[in-house]
């Protein structure tokens, strides 16, 4: 039997336990592919006494990071403990000792991914992070290898399971955001503090990682415009239904020439769009390539075993490269300088719902604001409201620049006949 490849595990929570289980239960398949066994040698935990839902030899557990990172026998570090600053230092230390790294840490990769990848390349180490985006879906490898020959122009992702679960239930049950969130928390689909999910930050981190790979540029988390779902109402979803739209929290990364935009926001998609049928806690990434056209990758975005699958598949890649002595040699540095679009260069359709005073000429005043900026309407609904003397107007625009649209919104708010701007969403995914 050949000498085993030894792994050091940082963290033994939900994903870490899954990694231990898969390495154990799928050992036969792993050995067949790599030609030698693989073993977990040390596991960094916070509390060695804590009861766990996976059986682990207690002698593997340690509370000392150095015992894992600096162990000269350990070939690969798997990082599933989370955290940013301290974790980054540990992984840099591992890479500088020639250890390969697999991480599921989107927070870390969104903020320090470029730096970590540079150091990995310098020390000829593999640094893989498939599990950091969309859990069990092998989307990063598909972008890098599967679509290696194409030029990707658009990525749209449902990359946060919690918000997709909430929006699905709101839509199916006609329930309010607050009620569904409470139910999701009770069922374990949402955290006690759901801020990072519902405000879109979690999705933004994943979009930064996707955009960096898809467009081969050093995109940072700060480059992502972010809006969460906390303001979405049942009424908005109902109007969407009447217009043939489904609401999703969509991360969009789009490239026109060398200029890119990246955002996360609640977005209406046509019901016929592939992403519109992605329900509950599932994730999906839609990729548009110049040559390939439309593709979509669908699967579980989180969970112990699905995420661990991605981690261990990365480990298999590291081990195959080790056997051939080519670790770190397949990595490709970003090809382009980052160029972000200005708001005047970002175009989309918009859905707008406003309450106006039911007066003669009110609608004309509103349309004037749009037509002055060359923005025309694709769809209009006007309905009386129960509230006295008010009417509700729902507009779907044709393509408008973000700059023009935001100017219009501002001026609408200033019009005396406009009682309030009720809601406003981007509309995406229609054939142009």
């Amino acid at each position: 039997m050949e000498k085993p490849i030894l792994v050091g595990l940082l963290g033994l929570g939900t994903v870490g336990s899954g990694v231990v289980k898969i390495i154990e239960n799928h050992q036969e398949k792993l050995m067949h592919q790599v030609g030698c066994p693989v073993k977990v040698k040390k596991i960094l935990v916070r509390d060695v006494q804590k009861p766990r839902d996976v059986a682990v030899d207690p002698s593997l557990l340690t509370t000392s990071a150095a015992e894992v990172i600096d162990d000269p026998d350990i070939d690969v570090i798997i990082e599933v403990m989370g955290g940013i600053e301290e974790t980054k230092e540990l992984l840099l230390r591992a890479l500088r000792q020639g250890k390969h790294v697999v991480t599921a840490n989107k927070d870390l990769m969104a903020v320090y991914g470029s730096e970590l990848l540079r150091v990995a390349a310098e020390y000829r180490c593999d640094l893989f992070y498939e599990a950091s985006v969309a859990g069990g879906i092998p989307i990063l490898r598909s972008l890098v290898d599967g679509l290696a020959s194409d030029r990707i122009t658009k990525l749209m992702g449902i990359v946060n399971g919690t918000t997709n679960y909430i929006l699905t239930k709101m839509s199916q049950n006609g329930a309010s955001y607050e009620d569904v969130l409470a139910e999701a928390q009770a069922l374990g689909f949402a955290e006690a503090d759901p801020t990072s999910d519902v405000e879109g930050l979690d999705a933004a981190r994943k979009m930064a990682i996707l955009a960096r790979l898809g467009f081969s540029m050093d995109i940072d988390l700060d480059d992502v415009q972010v809006k969460g779902i906390t303001q979405v109402t049942e009424e908005d979803l109902n109007y969407g239904k009447r217009l043939g739209y489904t609401m999703k929290l969509i991360g969009i990364a789009q490239r026109d020439g060398q200029k890119v935009e990246v955002s996360v926001q609640p977005t209406f998609l046509p019901d016929s769009h592939p992403l519109a049928s992605v329900h509950n806690e599932y994730n999906a990434v839609y990729v548009y390539g110049e040559a390939v056209g439309e593709t979509m990758f669908y699967g579980p975005g989180a969970g112990s075993l699905p995420t661990a699958t991605a981690v261990v598949s990365d480990l298999v890649a590291v081990m195959k490269n080790m056997r051939l002595g080519v670790n770190g040699r397949y990595a490709v540095a970003p090809q382009y300088e980052k160029q972000l679009k200005t708001p005047a260069e970002i175009f989309s359709k918009y859905f707008l719902r406003i309450h106006v005073k039911d007066q003669v000429g009110a609608f004309a005043k509103i349309t004037t604001l749009f037509s002055e900026r060359g923005v025309s309407f694709e769809k209009i609904l006007q309905l009386p409201l129960k509230e006295d003397g008010l009417a509700e107007i729902v507009i779907v625009t044709h393509d408008a620049s973000q700059q023009d649209y935001e100017d219009i919104l501002q001026q609408l708010g200033d019009l005396e006949i406009v009682e309030r701007v009720q809601s406003s969403y981007r509309v995406e995914g229609e054939k142009r």
Copy 2:
């Protein structure tokens, strides 16, 4: 500038033209990834004079296979000409000269894939064939690398665009198979001779390739049970709709323990199944892994540029391996001996539509046949028919073995009260 990698192209039809265009138009991206240019040196064609929709230096064209295969300067052979026996000999000759091979040829890979892969491994050559299944969708690489750590238990594929287009239009427009086929032929979505598509043979080839990779066994084309869509009627689709089902031509490869089944047949799926929303000429492959759960890969299954994307992405992989001197070293031989399930071991639900004489006790006689074999009903519809004295019965069974079900069908046909068995389909994709 580094020495270019030289490619010999066999065939310059739809896919071949796309390959030439992508190598030319995306040269900058290819060079960035591989570090050297890539050039097409020779192209085998049947007629050098034929007008083509891609601009090619006429001096590259040849009608002599030897000029391409035996050119010592050519590093990689891209085979997009089709054919089986003769093509196999050419590719074996190329591999034995140490040339790497990329092919889009599903007919060849379904029949001689195992042999070609063995020879490639022997000569340390890469043999990649991503384009042979589901066109532009990087599904083979996802099975091999992306899900490397998991054990796949089920693959369901919509892997033939023509039949998916026909079934989509029949369902949307309530039109007959014959009418939609004629329309599809007029629009170029179906061949003048559509036999290989509509009888399921094209899909069977792709399922043999998918099953071989997914289950790591030498599955042959002969192992695939095949039934096409020529007998599907609008009435069947309408009954499906009433029951919440969508009909698709589904390739199923399923593993229980070490035993596998592979089939292609028109199948009812619940409307909520991810594959049910795959419309028109699009393809998708649904993959169920023990750890990852449900994933799906969606995209264009054919077309010049989408298929060429898969071919050139394979070429990129070959070139990266060449740079590192590790061609042929990542290939993994099948892990398991093939074991096919017998009909008594293949279980599924079935949809059955029969016409019976409207007599007292007729239904009881039918149910007796099922209950004698322990097959129970999930859903039953009984409706009077316009035809005198006949009733129509639609049954959806619970799980039954193929053996039991076929015995029942046979005996039903022998019952005096059964006028005819109108249609019968497998029902898949429901939670069990």
